[in-house]
């Protein structure tokens, strides 16, 4: 399968004013590395407020102006620039935003799904396509004329999903698609991702919901204090979690009520208090001396990746 998206060592920081004219640089993402192939669903799992949505914003080139982006984001092997992001977004790469709040409240659904058009001819063409896809997602003609506030939670989700698919994208980025939905709608939304996968679309699922991630993703990237600390395969999240590599991932798995509800003390270091060494140093029960001041790199184990000195060759 061809690799579609390759994110290498991406870091994002913000310039903030503290008091008066004093500025401070706040590092939110320190090292994010991942890759997605055609027809693959990769979930990025991180707690809410950890900054993982910024990855989506970085891919689409919609970070705020005071943000500082480093590292490489490659699409089909080519590094993305702001210009190429603007060229590709909404066409080959599309976003499924978190909620209907991302829709224009004063614009009819069909008009905003179609978006900007140059001519009447183009508009009619797109309109037909839009109706086709909406129909496929069980959205009748009456939905075209509605405004966002008239949609139920499930309908809104279907509108966002079908709008994202309108341009036959190769890559879909879904930012927190499950919270606030009832179980039936969550199930339905996750099925949409499975369908995309079958059609060869690559899906980047950004979520805090481990159940959703385990249900649809092929691989899961664990995001911790601004780092991707492990990329594991879905099958690793079984049994006692013995195939999971990072101690944090193991703890996360064992903390699920169905897997023992085990207590692990400590908290993720906040933005701005991230230690020099391994971000998990304070909580780790198998740390080495070097972990305190040396940052482990993400080690490539083929499909899996792990950021921990324990798995370095020769140790």
């Amino acid at each position: 399968m061809e690799e579609i998206l390759d994110v290498e060592n991406v870091s994002i920081s913000f310039i903030q004013y503290t008091k008066g004219l004093n500025q401070q640089e706040l590092q939110v993402i320190t090292d994010l590395t991942l890759d997605i192939s055609e027809g693959e669903i990769l979930a990025v799992l991180g707690s809410s407020g950890s900054g993982k949505s910024l990855l989506a914003h970085a891919i689409f080139g919609i970070l705020p102006e005071n943000a500082n982006l480093n590292g490489k984001i490659k699409y089909k092997g080519k590094e993305l620039t702001q210009e190429s992001k603007e060229e590709l977004r909404g066409k080959e790469i599309t976003l499924i935003p978190q909620s209907v709040n991302f829709l224009d409240p004063l614009m009819k659904i069909s008009d905003q799904a179609i978006g900007h058009t140059e001519s009447d001819e183009e508009k009619n063409e797109k309109k037909i396509k839009q109706r086709e896809i909406f129909e496929k997602y069980n959205l009748g003609p009456e939905v075209d004329e509605m405004y966002p506030f008239q949609l139920s939670g499930g309908m809104a989700r279907r509108v966002l999903v079908s709008t994202a698919l309108l341009s036959n994208p190769k890559l879909v980025v879904a930012d927190e698609p499950t919270p606030g939905l009832d179980e039936k709608t969550v199930e339905e939304t996750l099925n949409h991702f499975k369908q995309m996968k079958e059609n060869g679309v690559g899906v980047l699922l950004i979520t805090h919901d481990i159940h959703a991630a385990l249900e649809v993703a092929d691989r899961i990237g664990i995001f911790y204090s601004g780092y991707v600390i492990e990329i594991a395969e879905k099958e690793d999240f079984t049994g006692d979690g013995e195939n999971l590599l990072h101690p944090y991932t193991k703890s996360l798995y064992k903390a699920l009520p169905a897997n023992g509800f085990e207590l692990t003390p400590g908290h993720q270091p906040l933005h701005g208090e991230i230690p020099n060494g391994c971000p998990y140093y304070n909580r780790c029960d198998m740390k080495f001396d070097r972990c305190e001041n040396e940052r482990p790199k993400l080690i490539d184990l083929g499909n899996k990746k792990i950021r921990c000195f324990k798995y370095e060759e020769g140790e």
Binding site: S47, L252, F261, T264, H267, L270
Partner: protein
Amino acid sequence: MELKATNISFKYPSANKYLLKDINLELDNNKIIGLIGDSGSGKSTLCKILSGYISKYEGTVTFNGNTLPKKGFKPVQLIYQHPEKVMNPKWRMDNVLKESWDVDDEFLKEFGIQKSWLTRFPQELSGGELQRFSVVRSMNPNTQFLIADEMTTMLDAITQVQILDSVLKIVKQRKMGFLLVSHDMDLVNTICDDKIYLNDINGA
């Protein structure tokens, strides 16, 4: 201790149909009960009635034989999903806590609250960190019954265990009552002594 709901019925003023109808419920501090229901089934509304946040309903709610106080501190405290919605965004966290009670260091430590968080504003903390504050705030010494309505739904699994573990410890220590409302069956089965399905007791 007894939190008792008798023939509770509720409908929104604009609705024709009752959301809750003739609900009878008796809760105490001997057993931890899990309340389960689909979204939109009226779980949260029932929680608000039981804790005194909704006053226009039919039926009666009594706590230890008395109706819930309309003024002053409420002995039945409710914690719900979104801590950011119950805090003044312009207050620093130490003031947010002080609004309820003077919390000692040991208590903060039990709930994993770092001293450095106290000078931050709510929007400078993550959901898990804020929810810890929300819980500590509701643990005023006068609180006798705690209702947790999807309290840990937005949190990662590790934070969920940490918060619930501390809550249950205090609940047992102070012999408080505790009602857990959740859609997560695994969670309910793990920590509750008994469970109630809202559909079974709702006549609507």
